[in-house]
Symmetry: C2
Subunit: 221 residues, 2 copies
């Protein structure tokens, strides 16, 4: 089964969400000059069960060797290919408030072909400011960024009120992948993919578990 076939048949979303974890574990192994790894070892490194790892990898193809395991370099490159990480992914960050500036300064984006090519804000008082060595641009620059630089991913770091407008700008310019840090549900055409990251939600889920743990203790000590 070729990579193209696998992509056409469709990898379950749940499996896709784990692939980056496998890739990271493999990269770490490669850095330690490990040449080969079993599903058991790799699964432990990625924090999943070995059966799940094997099934996930089987969606991509047969890249292991029975009785031996997986070639680290080879598997890493296959996963990277499946994720589409062989190409460059230009990223723009919209909203230069506290969070936006933090994201602009954060090095995590630079990994794996994600390049922050522009910082934008709709507020003309912020446009022109220098943030993390880049000049903040107006929203009107978006269409040009898409056409001339192949901008593909937009990161929304605006306050909740401005998020939908920012998203609309991105979509109108042709961006079809959005990472949303604002605490709102964004409405988008169905060919646009949105992923949401919300610190407040995460904390509230943690609160539930902490709360629940304390309660369970009180009920059945």
């Amino acid at each position: 089964m070729s990579t193209a076939e696998a992509a056409r048949r469709g990898v379950p979303d749940a499996a896709v969400a784990r692939l980056p974890g496998y890739l990271r574990a493999l990269t770490a192994l490669a850095a330690d000059d490990v040449a080969s790894v079993s599903s058991e070892e790799l699964a432990a490194a990625a924090g999943v069960s070995s059966a799940m790892l094997r099934k996930d990898l089987s969606y991509l193809g047969s890249y292991g060797v029975r009785g031996v395991g997986y070639d680290v370099e080879r598997l890493a490159s296959e996963i990277a290919a499946a994720l589409g990480l062989t190409q460059d992914w230009p990223v723009a960050i919209v909203g230069m408030g506290n969070l936006g500036r933090a994201l602009a300064a954060y090095r995590g984006f630079a990994e794996r072909g994600f390049r922050v090519i522009a910082l934008l804000d709709h507020d003309e008082r912020v446009v022109g400011d220098e943030v993390a060595g880049e000049t903040v641009r107006p929203m009107e620059d978006l269409p040009r960024l898409v056409e001339e630089q192949g901008l593909a991913i937009g990161v929304i770091a605006t306050p909740p009120e401005g998020a939908q407008a920012a998203c609309d700008h991105l979509v109108a310019a042709g961006v079809r992948s959005v990472l949303n840090f604002a605490a709102v549900v964004l409405a988008v055409p169905e060919d646009v993919t949105v992923r949401k990251v919300d610190l407040s939600t995460e904390l509230q889920i943690l609160a539930f578990h902490g709360h629940r743990g304390a309660l369970a203790e009180a009920v059945a000590p």
Copy 2:
């Protein structure tokens, strides 16, 4: 069914993860002086189906009125109670690099009873620095923060190499809820809840979808 009963019976994790979204939508409605809302309307605001919303809420109890809908204030307060947001949740941020400083400055934490009570770092060259109006403390302060201030949630914003050590410090001090921004899988005792937020993973998932979209187009235009 009382809240305590509901908590004992157990709300599915998938439902818990959506409760913060409902709560946020309700808070927005309350701010607009809306007194009552139907499952259809609330579901739309939270971006889920009405059937799912009703099922999720049914895990908490029967707080709706048939033929009418839900009382906004009442439901908000029931969800807040279920999530454990009636109490205060002191939070500590560990790791004062780029990301840690950003999180310290980010106001999103202040919502809903989450108070950042301490910023920590293991590097003595950073300890004592002023970040977002707070003095950075050494890791050794953790046990005291737990005992004297009820510290309950730890946020890990260290580089990947230091994340496990930071987590061990938190757990040893008695923290049982951890929000992990580092790109590693943390090993913890089973009574500790860890949630992971990873920008790189999110971007890679977006890359997959962008990639796949382009591929599907090429195959069947």
